[in-house]
């Protein structure tokens, strides 16, 4: 293919651009998936911190009387 074939270069450019867009989209999707996993981890960490605190509070007898019996 002659290097000065402008039309051909344009087509090539468009194809490469499309490929790049697909690759970028894939990167975004992968990043999203990783984000979803990270977010789940963050939430679980909060729940874990909550459970640990309550466990320690219960052991130390610091909990207020919050069990209703009436």
């Amino acid at each position: 293919v002659p290097v000065d074939d402008v039309e051909h270069l344009r087509v090539q450019m468009a194809e490469l651009q499309a490929e790049l867009d697909i690759a970028r989209g894939a990167v975004k999707r992968a990043e999203r998936d990783a984000g979803a996993a990270r977010a789940e981890l963050v939430e679980v960490k909060v729940q874990l911190a909550r459970a640990r605190q309550e466990h320690e509070a219960a052991i130390a007898g610091r909990r207020r009387g919050r069990r209703k019996t009436s």
Binding site: R38, A49, H55
Partner: protein, 506 residues
């Protein structure tokens, strides 16, 4: 209302074929109050006869009951209860819920030490079927923007009877959302006080909104109308729609014509930005021009934001970090519309990281500044639906912030200071929030404007500012924005130790 002496309470409860055991627990929790200057009014709204017998058997000296032979609905029963009240303050108590033993005493103390207070609310938690308390909801102090979009107050509410009657009491046609409607009308008249303590146990039951929203769908239709009428009364030009969750409402404000200058601090460094600032400018122009406010957007890119601000001619200034990218094209409209309220100093959007997690949903200054819910999923509703509703915050990140031109210089100083020392940016932003709110104005955060912010700067540890945050809660762990409760306050523990010292699991 200034209680010159001990306040007298009228606790109002309406019932219709309740679980007798639940009603008994409710009545007992009032009878056991450490504060004794009260009456408990129970209105039976045409329940089966055995309910009347049960109520008669529960009677104690401070309980007054009334029975409707024909059912009049929640509002009709509440109106009857209110008409029977003789106390200075009314206390709203649902028939299956339970007051903490010192609830009235705590409220009385507050009223005596805060003369002029007319409405006060407390935190609450949920009462499980096994009679253990769980999921405490530690609320912000009075947050009028949030109240418009969600009845975050719910229980416990104590209001001066005079105030309740002066706004028309409970209104027919709002059954199921009559409390939200009443709170909105009261909020138009007086600010509310907040007792930052759980004084109310809200029973989780199958028919409760707290566990089964579909059972009370009609309540949200009435809620929509209550919010729409409230907006009309306070001069907010908007349409009101159902929010993303039951009980949340979306207020779409129509803005007045406004011009906007967008100031982008441009360092010239290679940023990790998906779209160029030029494209951002195009979006900005089209979103303003395509909205209901015929405005004009001028883009100013400069390394020196302080200098750029000197050229500002518009009504509104939006500062945007060069490492940010607008997601929703309505974002500018949403932020401009919120600034229509002269009581609002600045507005910040939902900031997301490139992975779709929350980068900042506002700032809390409880203990020391922290991004609210950083790292949580961007589509998570958040604790107490904090990620679904527009709400007051102590501060927002200056990465993307909209303010009026009069405040632009102050904000530009903060933007410049944050850029100069990124690890201290969170402190600078918190200080800006305090400065902007010092005149009594409010800072708002909105989930309906969203941006990516490509920033992962770690916050420098050790900056302990010990600021109070009226829009967070002292019962939560300081320095975090994730609503983690302080030790011992998270509700049901994994087990409890009975009288015999035996470890038992709930």
């Amino acid at each position: 209302v200034t209680p010159a002496r001990s306040p007298r309470f009228s606790v109002l409860t309406t019932v219709f074929n309740p679980e007798i055991e639940h009603l008994r627990a409710c009545v007992a929790s009032v009878a056991e109050q450490t504060w004794t200057d009260y009456e408990h009014i129970v209105v039976d709204d045409g329940s089966n006869p055995e309910v009347g017998v049960a109520i008669a058997n529960m009677s104690h000296e401070r309980l007054r009951s009334w029975r409707h032979e024909d059912r009049r609905g929640i509002v009709g029963a509440a109106q009857t209860a209110l008409s029977m009240a003789t106390g200075e303050f009314v206390v709203l108590l649902d028939h299956d819920d339970v007051l903490v033993a010192h609830a009235l005493e705590r409220v009385a103390d507050h009223l005596l030490s805060h003369p002029g207070c007319e409405v006060v609310y407390s935190d609450h938690d949920l009462l499980r079927a096994d009679d253990r308390c769980t999921e405490p909801f530690f609320k912000p102090d009075f947050s009028p923007e949030r109240l418009r979009q969600q009845n975050y107050i719910t229980h416990l509410v104590v209001a001066s009877r005079q105030a309740v009657e002066s706004v028309g009491g409970f209104r027919s046609g709002f059954d199921g959302s009559q409390d939200h409607d009443l709170l909105l009308r009261l909020s138009e008249r007086v600010p509310f006080d907040h007792i930052r303590e759980v004084l109310y146990h809200w029973r989780q039951s199958d028919s409760s909104v707290s566990t089964s929203p579909s059972n009370k769908l009609f309540a949200f239709d009435h809620g929509l109308r209550a919010v729409a009428e409230h907006c009309q009364r306070v001069g907010i030009h908007a349409s009101v729609e159902e929010g993303a969750q039951f009980g949340c409402y979306r207020i779409r404000r129509l803005t007045s014509p406004a011009t906007m200058d967008v100031v982008i601090r441009a360092s010239g460094r290679e940023g990790r930005v998906w779209a160029s600032p030029r494209r951002f400018a195009d979006i900005a122009r089209s979103s303003i021009a395509g909205g209901s406010a015929p405005g004009q957007v001028t883009l100013r890119e400069s390394l020196d934001v302080k200098m750029a601000v000197n050229d500002v001619r518009a009504d509104i200034v939006l500062f945007a970090d060069e490492r940010s990218e607008m997601i929703d094209e309505q974002s500018l409209m949403v932020m401009v519309a919120l600034l229509d309220d002269p009581g609002v100093a600045a507005v910040g959007p939902m900031l997301l990281s490139s992975d779709g997690t929350v980068r900042s949903a506002g700032l809390t200054t409880h203990g020391w500044p922290a991004d609210i819910l950083r790292g949580w999923a961007g589509d998570h509703p958040g604790p107490g639906y904090a990620l679904l509703v527009e709400r007051e915050v102590s501060a927002v990140r200056t990465a993307v912030i909209a303010c009026r031109a009069a405040d632009a210089s102050l904000v530009a100083d903060a933007v410049a200071a944050s850029a100069a020392e990124p690890t201290r940016a969170v402190m600078v932003d918190a200080a800006l929030g305090a400065a902007l709110r010092s005149g009594g104005r409010r800072m708002l955060w909105t989930p309906h404007a969203s941006w990516y912010w490509f920033d992962d700067t770690p916050v420098r540890a050790g900056d302990d500012m010990h600021l109070d945050d009226p829009y967070y809660n002292p019962n939560l762990v300081p320095g975090r924005g994730d609503w983690l409760e302080r030790p011992g306050l998270a509700g049901a523990s994994p087990y409890f130790v009975d009288e015999g010292g035996v470890r038992r699991y709930a």
